[in-house]
C-alpha cells in the first residue's frame, strides 16, 4: 500500500475533477427526477382513468429492474430504438431520472395518501378548487412528511452515479480507477479516499435534512 503516492497533489486534483462531474450529474438528475416524480405522483393521485393505470405499470416495471440494466439500456439500446444522440453523461442522467423518478413518485404518492380525506373534503366544501386544494392543503403537509425518505432517495441517487463507470463516465469513481490503474499499491488507499468523499457529502446532506425536518415540524 502506498498512501503517499496515491494521495499526491496531482491525484487529489484529478479526483476533485471527477467529483465535479459526479455533483453535476447528481444535481441535474435530482432536479428532474423530483419534477417528474411529482408529476407522476399527482397524476396517479388524481386517479385519471387509463393514464393512472399506465403510470402504475410504468412505476412497477422500473421499480423491479436494476438501475445498472436501465443504464445499459439508455446507453447501448435506446439509440437503436429511437435515433437519439446521448453522450455517456446524458445516458447516465437519463437512466438515473427514469429510475429515481419512479421511486420518488412512490414516496410522494405515499405522502399525499397520508393526508386524511376529511381535510380534502373540508377544503373542497369551503370553496377551493381541486388544484387549489392540492396546492394549498395537501402538498405542503405531505412535503413535510416526505423530507426524510426523499433525502435518502437523493443520497442513493448520488451514490448510484458511481455506476456510470460502465459507460466510462469520467466521475469520481472512474477517476479513482484511473489512478489505481497506475500502481497496485494505490488501490486500497484510493478506494478508501473515494469512499470517504462520498461519505462526507452524503452524511452532510442527511444532517441538513434532519435540521430541515426539525425546523418544519415546529
Amino acid at each position: 500500500m502506498d498512501f503517499v503516492g496515491a494521495y499526491s497533489p496531482e491525484n487529489l486534483g484529478f479526483l476533485m475533477e471527477g467529483l465535479m462531474i459526479t455533483l453535476r450529474v447528481a444535481v441535474i438528475s435530482i432536479v428532474f427526477s423530483f419534477a417528474i416524480g411529482l408529476i407522476i405522483a399527482v397524476l396517479r393521485y388524481a386517479r385519471i382513468p387509463v393514464l393512472s393505470q399506465l403510470l402504475f405499470l410504468w412505476v412497477e416495471l422500473i421499480r423491479n429492474l436494476p438501475l445498472l440494466l436501465i443504464m445499459f439500456f439508455t446507453f447501448f439500446a435506446l439509440p437503436e430504438i429511437i435515433r437519439i444522440d446521448l453522450s455517456a453523461e446524458e445516458a447516465v442522467i437519463l437512466a438515473l431520472v427514469l429510475f429515481e423518478s419512479a421511486l420518488i413518485s412512490e414516496i410522494i404518492r405515499g405522502g399525499l395518501a397520508s393526508i386524511p380525506k376529511g381535510q380534502l373534503e373540508a377544503a373542497r366544501s369551503s370553496g377551493l378548487g381541486y388544484v387549489q386544494t392540492l396546492r394549498f392543503v395537501v402538498v405542503p403537509q405531505a412535503l413535510r412528511r416526505m423530507i426524510p425518505p426523499l433525502v435518502s432517495q437523493f443520497i442513493s441517487l448520488l451514490k448510484d452515479t458511481s455506476l456510470g463507470i460502465i459507460v466510462a463516465l469520467d466521475d469520481l469513481m472512474h477517476n479513482g480507477q484511473i489512478i489505481y490503474n497506475h500502481d497496485f499499491g494505490y488501490v486500497f488507499p484510493t478506494l478508501i479516499l473515494v469512499a470517504t468523499i462520498y461519505f462526507v457529502i452524503n452524511y452532510s446532506l442527511s444532517l441538513l435534512a434532519g435540521r430541515l425536518e426539525k425546523k418544519l415540524s415546529v
Binding site: M1, E60, L61, R63, N64, L65, P66, L67, L68, L69, F72, F73, F76, A77, E80, I81, S152, I155, K159, D160, S162, L163, I165, I166, M173, Y180, F184, G185, V187, F188, L191, I192, V194, A195, Y198, F199, N202, Y203, S206
Partner: protein, 220 residues
C-alpha cells in the same frame, strides 16, 4: 420493432441466461441471509443501553449507508488482496452486497422496535416479565408488522443490486448479458430479455410485499 427484437437470441442463449439467473438467485440468497443476520445484530446494538455498542451501531449504519455499493464491492474484490485476503467474485460481491444491505435492514428493524410505545414495555416489565420475555411477547409481535414491508423492499433492492456482480466478473445475469451482447451485437434484444429474467425474480417478491402490507394493515 420486429427487426430489433430477435427471439432467437433467447432460444440460442437460454442456457447462458439460466446460468446467470441461478447465480443471481444464489448470490441474492447468500447476501440476504448475511444482511439479515448482520442487520439484526446492528439493530440490537443501536437500541442497546451500552453506550459504546450504540455508538458502533450508529457509526456502522451511517458509514455504510452513505457510500456507494460499488466501492464496497471493489474494496472486497480489489482492495483486500493488498492486506493478504483474496476473495473470489462470489464472496467479495456477496459480502459487499450483504454488508451494504444490512445497514438499511438494521434501520428498518430499529424503527420498528422503537415504534412500540415505551408504556407497553414498562407495563410488561412491571407486571413481572423479564427483558427477553418483554421483547419476545410484547415488542417483537408489534414491531414485526411495521418492519416487514420495508424489509421486503430492502430484499427487492438487494436482488436488483446484485447486478453489481456483473462488474467483477461474477457470472450473474448482468454479466452474461454483456457476454451475449459482445457475441451477437443484438443489444436491444439481449438487454430486454435479461430484464425479463430480473422481473421473474422481483415481481413475485413485490407482489408478496404488497400482499403483506395489505394484510398487516388490516390486522391492525
Amino acid at each position: 420493432m420486429s427487426d430489433l427484437l430477435d427471439i432467437s437470441i433467447l432460444i440460442d442463449y437460454q442456457d447462458v441466461y439460466w446460468k446467470g439467473f441461478f447465480i443471481t438467485l444464489k448470490a441474492s440468497v447468500f447476501a440476504l441471509i448475511l444482511s439479515f443476520i448482520l442487520g439484526v445484530i446492528i439493530a440490537v446494538f443501536r437500541i442497546s443501553t451500552v453506550k459504546s455498542l450504540r455508538w458502533f451501531g450508529t457509526a456502522y449504519v451511517e458509514y455504510i449507508r452513505n457510500i456507494p455499493l460499488l466501492i464496497l464491492v471493489f474494496v472486497f474484490y480489489n482492495g483486500l488482496p493488498s492486506i493478504g485476503v483474496n476473495l473470489d467474485s462470489f464472496m467479495a460481491g456477496g459480502l459487499g452486497l450483504g454488508i451494504y444491505t444490512s445497514a438499511f435492514i438494521a434501520e428498518a428493524i430499529r424503527a420498528g422496535i422503537q415504534s412500540v410505545p415505551k408504556g407497553h414495555v414498562e407495563a410488561a416489565r412491571s407486571s413481572g416479565l423479564t427483558y427477553l420475555q418483554t421483547m419476545r411477547f410484547v415488542v417483537l409481535p408489534q414491531a414485526i408488522k411495521i418492519v416487514l414491508p420495508p424489509l421486503g423492499n430492502q430484499f427487492i433492492n438487494l436482488v436488483k443490486n446484485s447486478s453489481i456482480f456483473g462488474v467483477i466478473a461474477g457470472g450473474d445475469l448482468m454479466y452474461q448479458a454483456d457476454i451475449i451482447n459482445s457475441e451477437t451485437f443484438q443489444t436491444v434484444s439481449v438487454y430486454l430479455f435479461v430484464a425479463l429474467f430480473y422481473l421473474l425474480l422481483t415481481i413475485p417478491l413485490s407482489l408478496f410485499v404488497n400482499y403483506l402490507e395489505r394484510r398487516l394493515a388490516r390486522a391492525y
